[in-house]
Amino acid sequence: MQSKTKDLVPILEVNNLFASTENLPILKGVTISVNPGEIHAIMGRNGCGKSTLSKIIAGHPSYTITKGEIKFTGRDIRSLEPEVRAQSGIFLGFQYPIEIPGVSNLEFLRVATNARRKFLKKEELDTFDFEDLVKEKLDLVKMDSAFLSRSINQGFSGGEKKRNEILQMALLEPKIAILDETDSGLDIDALRIVASGIKKISNEETGIILITHYQRLLDEIKPDYVHVMSEGQIIKTGESDLALELEKHGYEWTDNCSKQL
């Protein structure tokens, strides 16, 4: 499938990526390219390697790349530490955001925002300036400022955790955001809030990968491309109507594609 913006330098290129954890192969030749302004959706059965792909792009140390490459704005990032990837503009929205008791959400967000700002050669923010910024971003995800004084994700409901992820995305202004099942566990209203937040943050220069099981998120955020993953590979790519077909027929419909590969 041809990119709609083929003349641009891709933000992210994953080429024939093989990866494993504890000698167990999980990714078996994934290729995907995301250009500025594009929204991609990755769908697939549980355990097909979607979350692994997202973690490997973010630099999770538990996985080993055995073959292939990952390029971010044209640069091979395989040897970069996770924090360097994050500082340079890769954002992973976690499927299960981690609770960190005792670490203040506000302080964590400030340190993270300043790490990104430092990379962008912007002035780092002191506590007061940061509070002004974060309050402005809180409106995007309709979060109460009381969340800032709590420990990271501790005692947050599922929906609050996901909104906190989008708040972080808004503060970090990434070049590419990979959102791993951001819609899971959200009720209809929370889904709309999160989707609206994502749409407001994204622009012509950012790329977004949505990992999801459900059409309902894609009703809110229309993807340019939909990829179907199975057993560590992307077995089918199409436009947004591919998600509707999957919703209609289920993953069995794509099983033949897998067999043909």
């Binding site: 630099g59 999770h60 530490e81 994050a86 992973l92 976690f94 008791p101 993270a112 990271i152």
Partner: protein, 405 residues
Amino acid sequence: MQIIEEIKKNRLISNPSEIQKLCLDKLKLNPLPNIKSELWRLSNKSKFSSFLDYSHKKKESKVSFPYKNTSQNIIRLIIGENTFINIKQETYSIRQSKDSEIVDYIKKNISAFDQTDHWSDLLNHCLSSKKNILGLNISGNKVPPIEILSASSSESFNAKTLILFFEKNCKVDLLQINLGNENSSLSQTTYLCLEEETSVNHGVVSYGKNKSNLLNSLNVLQKTKSEYNLGSLHCKFNYARFEIRINQLEGDAKTIIKGIQITKKDEQIATYTKMQFNGPNGILEQLNKSLAEDKSHAVFEGTIIVPKIAQKTDASQLSRNLLLSKHAKIDTKPQLKIIADDVKCKHGATISQLNEEEIFYMRSRGLTLEEASKLQLSSYLQEIISCIPVSKDKWDLLDKLLKEN
């Protein structure tokens, strides 16, 4: 072990007081603790010897509080240096205990002391001179925060004793600082007696310098409807031992204990707690944390005793430990001795390393490994530090100690 030799040869003190005589008599036959007992078996022998190798006869040097006083409203005392205190205000009073009160109280305690269980106290009373015993009677529900400093002098063994009687309905924040100077040993014994309906928030911060040692013993008696909260931090000692014994005399009282010990290099720091319920409806919440780096060794042993009379006791004891090096060692043993049949008691222990998923989460937001680890460690400490009754932002020293860890 200079001090032990002197006890054996009866040359420890030239003019012993009544209390010193009593304790020397108790120690003369067995001057050392039983190293095979549960309470002493993990004690590092060579470090324990070095603890006893300093002279107690040297002149003590003057010490000062290691941080600024940011409030006029704090009462500060240094054991061994305050000659007299007598404050009587409308809402509270603090008066120095009479010598006879102190002697009677210590004598009563000594008579019940077992040599193994209370070896640290017996040694303290052998060596603690009248000048180094501070006794206070405190009353009132608007007592200003009290800070009490105990320190050892370089190249010396110093013994200090603190006895605080909290009268009925008394409410107070008490911060105790034990400071070990270079090449020294400090023996600190503390008694707190909480009358009915008292509430004491007690912070104990003990930190040493190069090759300093500490034997810190805390004995607390709680009467009914009293509430005792203890937050403690022990760090930077070559060898330190914190013994806590709390007795809810008639039950119906509440005890909260939160403590942390941080060990580095080849240090050994141990905490032993014994919680005794002697009446019904007692409550205990206890959390002890250890953080061990390099080749250090941290020890925690906690015992909760619930006899038949202590029905409806509700006690929990948790030991959480963080190993930051493969050469460091942590021993932990929370234990329950329950005879009563209608109680809620739970205990547990965990030993772990820094949580990798938490670290990755923070790194995926741009924090370096070092920043993420520091933030996680600071949160690990914060849970305990927040229980010490002085906010860390007002306290330069604690802030410095935390940043160093």
